[in-house]
């Protein structure tokens, strides 16, 4: 063989050939079976998938151009295009195309690496050795494939679709396939959320309550939990395990069930709570027909649900605090309150702060609490499709499943994402986990 001046000749040639056509670089590297398989893959894709791909992209861009034809009596003469199915097909093809590009990149990388081995004078592997090598090196990919496919179709694809919807006019009653076509409208839906009073009123009203609710729900449960954790930790309490198990019950019972129980208990006419109020001579409270009392009930019921979680977590923290800290503080003459303020509280806050932010994000989107307990009611005449206790997420639910206002629901979802993502990223950067995480590929 010729002694090469530049030690990377085979590597570069292989990579370049594989860039031109899949598998060429491998064949150049004398890995014939592998190269042939790669080449066959590209041929297969080119021959059988070019046309469907072009059609899918056309569909994604136009969202269909044949409107459904109906006769005077309303029977369908010609089916027409279904914009939404075209859109989803388009996204699937776009994702598959990206996947193909990834395989293509791997093919180039492989040709480069094998070429580099040859440059160093090593012999390229034969096919069986390649398979064995791929099995060891590619084990991660093999493990990841099922999860990847699942996540692609149940999370990524639906999310991309959900975001794209915001830029269309997909909404009832005039733009619902298969009867009508849907079109791209750019930022029109975003501007109408701000410009039209009916929308902006609802959005601001619901948003305000969502924030108030999330803050109240997080802090009431947090401090109630803290209170009971401290109480149970007190040295005079006997049978600690019994009490803890008892107080953890609201967390153990399925939330859907207990929310429906509360829905009945707070029933204005028949519910036991109003019955008891009447028995002791007070007026019945209109729990579900007055906005203030409905909100009040939601927050109180949420304490019932939420405090055991914090209590359990904080009890764990409390039992792990080094007893010597307290003894040292006592010798230094610190009183009970002082010990609490400078030892117990900081330690608890330190270990639960990240959870506090996650809990805020959770409450911000606590659909079950609102929808199962009040269903968003009482009705609010000045809102579009939302009740007085609706939070953003339950409003979106109603917009989507009850009103077919898909595009508006999507715009509000994007807003929620920005808020939640903002919090999560802020939280994430603060926690050690991120700094410790070895993110180097």
């Amino acid at each position: 063989m010729v002694v090469l001046l530049n030690g990377k000749v085979h590597a570069r040639a292989g990579a370049l050939l594989s860039l031109l056509f899949m598998g060429l670089g491998q064949i150049y590297n004398r890995q014939f079976v592998k190269g042939l398989l790669y080449a066959l893959l590209e041929l297969y894709v080119l021959i059988f998938w070019s046309k469907p791909f072009a059609e899918a992209m056309h569909g994604l861009i136009t969202l269909g151009d044949k409107v459904q034809q109906r006769s005077a009596r309303g029977t369908i003469i010609e089916q027409g295009d279904h914009s939404i199915i075209l859109m989803i097909t388009g996204i699937i093809f776009a994702l598959l195309f990206l996947l193909f590009i990834a395989v293509y990149a791997l093919n180039i990388r492989d040709a480069y690496k094998v070429g580099a081995m040859r440059d160093k004078g090593e012999k390229p592997r034969n096919f069986t050795a390649s398979i064995a090598h791929a099995w060891e090196q590619g084990f991660a990919y093999i493990l990841l494939t099922p999860s990847f496919v699942f996540a692609l179709f149940t999370i990524v694809l639906p999310l991309i679709f959900g975001i794209l919807i915001a830029f269309t006019n997909y909404s009832g009653p005039n733009h619902l396939p298969p009867k009508n076509l849907v079109d791209w409208v750019g930022f029109e839906t975003f501007t109408s959320l701000i410009q039209f009073r009916a929308w902006s009123n609802t959005f601001l009203g619901v948003l305000t309550w969502t924030i108030i609710w999330a803050v109240l729900a997080t802090f009431t449960t947090y401090f109630t939990g803290l209170f009971y954790a401290l109480l149970l930790n007190h040295r005079v309490v006997k049978f600690k395990k019994f009490w803890r198990t008892l107080l953890i019950l609201p967390w153990a019972v399925p939330g859907v069930i207990s929310l429906l129980i509360f829905r009945n208990m707070f029933n204005g006419e028949f519910g036991p709570i109003n019955q008891y109020l009447k028995m002791i001579g007070l007026q019945a409270i209109p729990w579900f027909s007055d906005p203030f009392w409905a909100k009040f009930a939601i927050v109180v019921v949420n304490i019932w649900f939420g405090f055991p979680y914090w209590m359990a977590l904080m009890s764990g923290v409390l039992t792990n605090i080094d007893k010597e800290l307290y003894e040292a503080a006592e010798i230094d003459g610190a009183g009970g309150f002082q010990r609490f303020r400078s030892i117990t509280l900081p330690l608890i806050l330190f270990s639960t702060a990240p959870l506090l932010i996650m809990s805020f994000a959770h409450n911000f989107n606590n659909f079950n609490m609102i929808y199962l307990f009040t269903s968003g009611g009482p009705a609010n005449p000045s809102y579009s499709y939302a009740g007085s206790t609706d939070i953003l997420i339950s409003w979106i639910y109603k917009l989507t499943l009850e009103q077919n206002k898909f595009n508006m629901a999507s715009v509000v979802s994007i807003f929620i994402f920005i808020v939640v993502a903002g919090f999560s990223i802020w939280n994430f950067r603060r926690t050690r986990a991120f700094k410790e995480e070895d993110m180097v590929a």
């Binding site: 019950l249 019972v253 399925p254 993110m439």
Partner: protein, 280 residues
């Protein structure tokens, strides 16, 4: 230190026990009220007496005979078990790949999973609906299982990956030197070390379907396909008050096993949540 009594302890004990007892009543009352509704004769919400006036199993009989309750129960159990198996396998394999291997695309995928978690889960509802419709899995329990299993991956994989990362690498290295294959290392070294976190993931995914309302409502359309959450919701929101005692009986039969399971495994659940907090 613990046994020494101090001045003021007696008063403190009185106050604390008083608070605890009042709280215990507040915690238990709603649950007691359901037990009462399920076992007491008569069928109204209206009840002034706190003690039962009699015992009857009529409401359970009505529940079994007049509604699809047993079918809903079987459906939910099926979805829960299948989701538990599928999700745990997916989550653990993905987490193991992320924890033990360094491969191109790893960092990007990890970041993508973090971001994916932050979208409201039903932003994808319409797409999921249409996809399931296209592949004929709408109103089908398997459709729901696939949706649940897919959704459990990002959070679960991050959580379990964090746990795997914390295990001593020397064990894996030693096994590798001994010539163990990836499979052996996974099953013989990693799995035995990870029982707590795997239990947490499994339990979480088992309990999930008993609680979920949104996706079950989206995917399941006919009464014989309902899970318990949907069935019971329709029972109390539909024709309202007359059905309450049937609902109570049904609620009891769900809550008891789930609550027992939870209490029995609470150590794992609390540990798992703490781990989740530290890893984002």
């Amino acid at each position: 230190m613990q046994t020494s009594t101090r001045p003021g302890d007696k008063l403190a004990a009185w106050v604390i026990y008083l608070i605890l007892i009042v709280t215990a009543i507040a915690v238990i009352y709603p649950l007691y009220w359901v037990v009462l509704g399920a076992l007491n004769p008569g069928s109204s919400l209206f009840r002034t007496s706190i003690l039962p006036t009699g015992l009857t199993l009529d409401h359970f009989r009505e529940l079994f005979n007049e509604t699809d309750y047993l079918i809903w129960y079987r459906n939910t159990l099926f979805v829960a078990v299948m989701n538990m198996i599928l999700s745990t396998v997916l989550v653990v394999t993905a987490a193991y790949a992320f924890s033990q291997f360094r491969f191109p695309g790893r960092k990007q995928t990890l970041m993508a999973m973090l971001v994916l978690q932050m979208f409201p889960s039903f932003m994808g509802m319409i797409a999921i609906y249409i996809l399931l419709l296209q592949i004929n899995l709408l109103d089908n329990l398997w459709g729901l299982i696939l949706v649940y299993a897919g959704g459990s991956i990002p959070f679960g994989a991050w959580l379990v990956k964090g746990y795997f990362d914390a295990q001593p690498r020397s064990l894996v290295e030693a096994a590798k030197i001994d010539g163990a294959s990836n499979f052996t290392i996974f099953f013989r070294v990693m799995m035995p070390l990870s029982v707590p976190i795997v239990t947490f993931v499994a339990v979480n995914n088992f309990i999930g379907p008993w609680m979920d309302f949104i996706f079950a409502r989206l995917v399941l359309r006919s009464s014989d396909k309902y899970t318990l959450a949907i069935g019971l919701f329709n029972m109390v929101t539909g024709r309202s008050n007359t059905d309450f005692t049937k609902f109570a009986a049904g609620a009891l039969l769900v809550s008891i096993p789930i609550a027992l399971l939870f209490l029995f495994l609470q150590r794992y659940i609390i540990e798992g949540l703490k781990a989740g907090a530290n890893k984002g």
